[in-house]
């Protein structure tokens, strides 16, 4: 699984880096950013889903790998 943020949708609510600080951080203006290449380590899938489901702007995409 990978996570992505749609930068045109993100408004800096910060729910992703509150709920899944191992997967997301923020930039100098508070917008969310994906840490590393967005690959979700094993066991962190729940955190990734929680972050996506709590984003008020629907800015987080989960990409499930086959």
């Amino acid at each position: 699984m990978k996570v992505q943020i749609g930068p045109e949708r993100c408004q800096g609510h910060g729910r992703c880096y509150d709920l899944a600080p191992g997967l997301f951080g923020d930039d100098e203006e508070g917008y969310g950013r994906v840490l590393g290449d967005g690959t979700v380590p094993p066991g962190k899938e729940h955190d990734a889903r929680l972050a996506a489901l709590n984003c008020p702007e629907h800015a987080i995409d989960l990409i499930e790998e086959a």
Partner: protein, 423 residues
């Protein structure tokens, strides 16, 4: 240092020109039908707006009123979100609904940038402020906020009944924002008056409202001169030296942004802290669970923000149009009720209940789209620290007298009298 020629007497005269706008007749008194004659400043709405919103959602769902010169009230999440995202058709030039519409010439800055600005100017004005309000910057305020919360509880002494709205919740955001702006902490009681003037005096005759609001700008101008004479590391000095498009900010921009930062963070967070404590005082099961499981508090806070969202915004319709089934006219107000959106059962399961372990909570308490509350990280920090300290120091409390609780009317809703029995 040389005088800053932005802040001379001419500036005051310029601000006075802003009072040329459109005034509407003040209408108050009982509501005949909430679908056709709503008013968010009437006592029935202040006391409990949720049944009214639920009823409108069933039968309307966009209510209208001829009060305030004409206004619309959408109550479905879908409509509130669509308006928040549609900055082409809905302007933020005035975000507090009253009987006075500012002249369109105030654009793009508006009275309190960047919340009163539309794109494209909005983006650049907001960018100036974002770095000061990131989660990391706000974390620097946390130790002082925590100490201050403890000191407030220390002063409560041995009283059996405490008005937690007046003696606890209200002081916390006032202290933090005064510190960030570099205003004297002892001026806190004056800020309370400014907040009342701006946010609760909305149905006063326009000239009286304008006179009251000018007291805030007189105060801010004093702070500007103090900071010009003695620059320091705070948001006021930052705004005074900030540049946009290669020039220092205009006087209107500096003072308007100061007004926004001072006012927007006070009533709102005060309301959120108060509403959360009100809920816990009347819901012993939730209170006991949070005392036993402090780790649940961040999740519970999101639920308090959803269920008791304190902030409703306003927009102005730009041009006549047919929109989602109604005929809107240019300069009609929109009352953009994030609280109503947050209780839409289409968007939320058990929308009318407070579920403190709700794991998925895509609420709109801090708005949606480009105007996401600039201070949301600050508000969340203050709310969390205020509740952590309260629950740690005063784990047992109940409503002393449910009928004595009063709620602010207008666009910011929260308890203004909240007597709790604490021992």
């Amino acid at each position: 240092m040389a005088a800053d020629d932005r802040f001379t007497e001419d500036f005051r005269e310029l601000r006075e020109e802003e009072v040329i706008g459109t005034r509407s007749e003040v209408v108050s008194g009982p509501i005949s039908d909430w679908a056709t004659d709503f008013s968010h400043v009437e006592p029935e709405w202040a006391a409990d707006p949720y049944p009214i919103q639920d009823d409108l959602r069933q039968r309307c769902p966009i209510a209208h009123t001829r009060r305030f010169g004409g206004a619309w009230l959408p109550v479905r999440y879908e409509d509130v979100a669509a308006i928040a995202y549609d900055t082409d058709r809905f302007s933020s030039l005035s975000i507090i609904l009253s009987n006075f519409r500012p002249p369109r010439e105030l654009a793009p800055i508006g009275g309190s940038p960047p919340i009163s600005s539309d794109p494209p100017f909005h983006h650049d004005a907001r960018k100036l402020l974002l770095p000061a309000f990131t989660k990391g910057e706000i974390a620097k305020q946390e130790p002082g906020t925590r100490r201050f919360c403890h000191s407030l509880i220390d002063t409560l002494g041995e009283q059996e009944v405490v008005d937690v709205a007046r003696d606890y919740a209200q002081h916390i955001p006032v202290r933090v924002i005064a510190d960030m702006l570099g205003f004297p902490p002892e001026d806190g009681p004056r800020f309370r008056v400014f907040v009342e003037d701006l946010l609760e005096g909305v149905n006063l005759p326009p000239d009286e409202r304008i006179a009251r609001v000018s007291r805030l700008f007189d105060y801010l101008l004093d702070q500007v001169h103090d900071h010009l004479a003695d620059p320091r590391e705070d948001l006021t000095s930052y705004l005074l030296s900030a540049e946009l498009y290669g020039q220092k900010l205009s006087a209107d921009h500096v003072v308007g942004a100061m007004a926004l930062l001072l006012i927007a963070g006070i009533d709102t967070t005060w309301s959120a802290i108060g509403a959360s404590l009100w809920h816990l005082a009347k819901t012993p099961g939730d209170r006991e669970r949070l005392v036993a499981e402090p780790g649940l508090l961040p999740t519970a806070i999101e639920e308090f923000l959803r269920a008791y969202a304190p902030v409703t915004m306003a927009r102005l319709v730009k041009e006549d149009m047919h929109w989602h089934g109604v005929d809107m006219k240019a300069d009609d107000w929109i009352l953009l009720s994030f609280p109503a959106a947050n209780r839409d059962p289409v968007q939320f399961d058990r929308a009318g209940e407070v579920v403190i372990d709700r794991a998925v909570n895509r609420h709109a308490a801090f708005g949606l789209g480009i105007h996401r509350c600039l201070g949301s990280h600050l508000a969340r920090m203050e709310l969390r620290v205020a509740l952590e300290v309260w629950l740690q120091r005063v784990p047992e409390f109940t409503l002393a007298d449910p009928s004595a609780v009063t709620w602010a009317a207008g666009q910011i809703r929260g308890p203004r009298k909240l007597p709790l029995r604490v021992r």
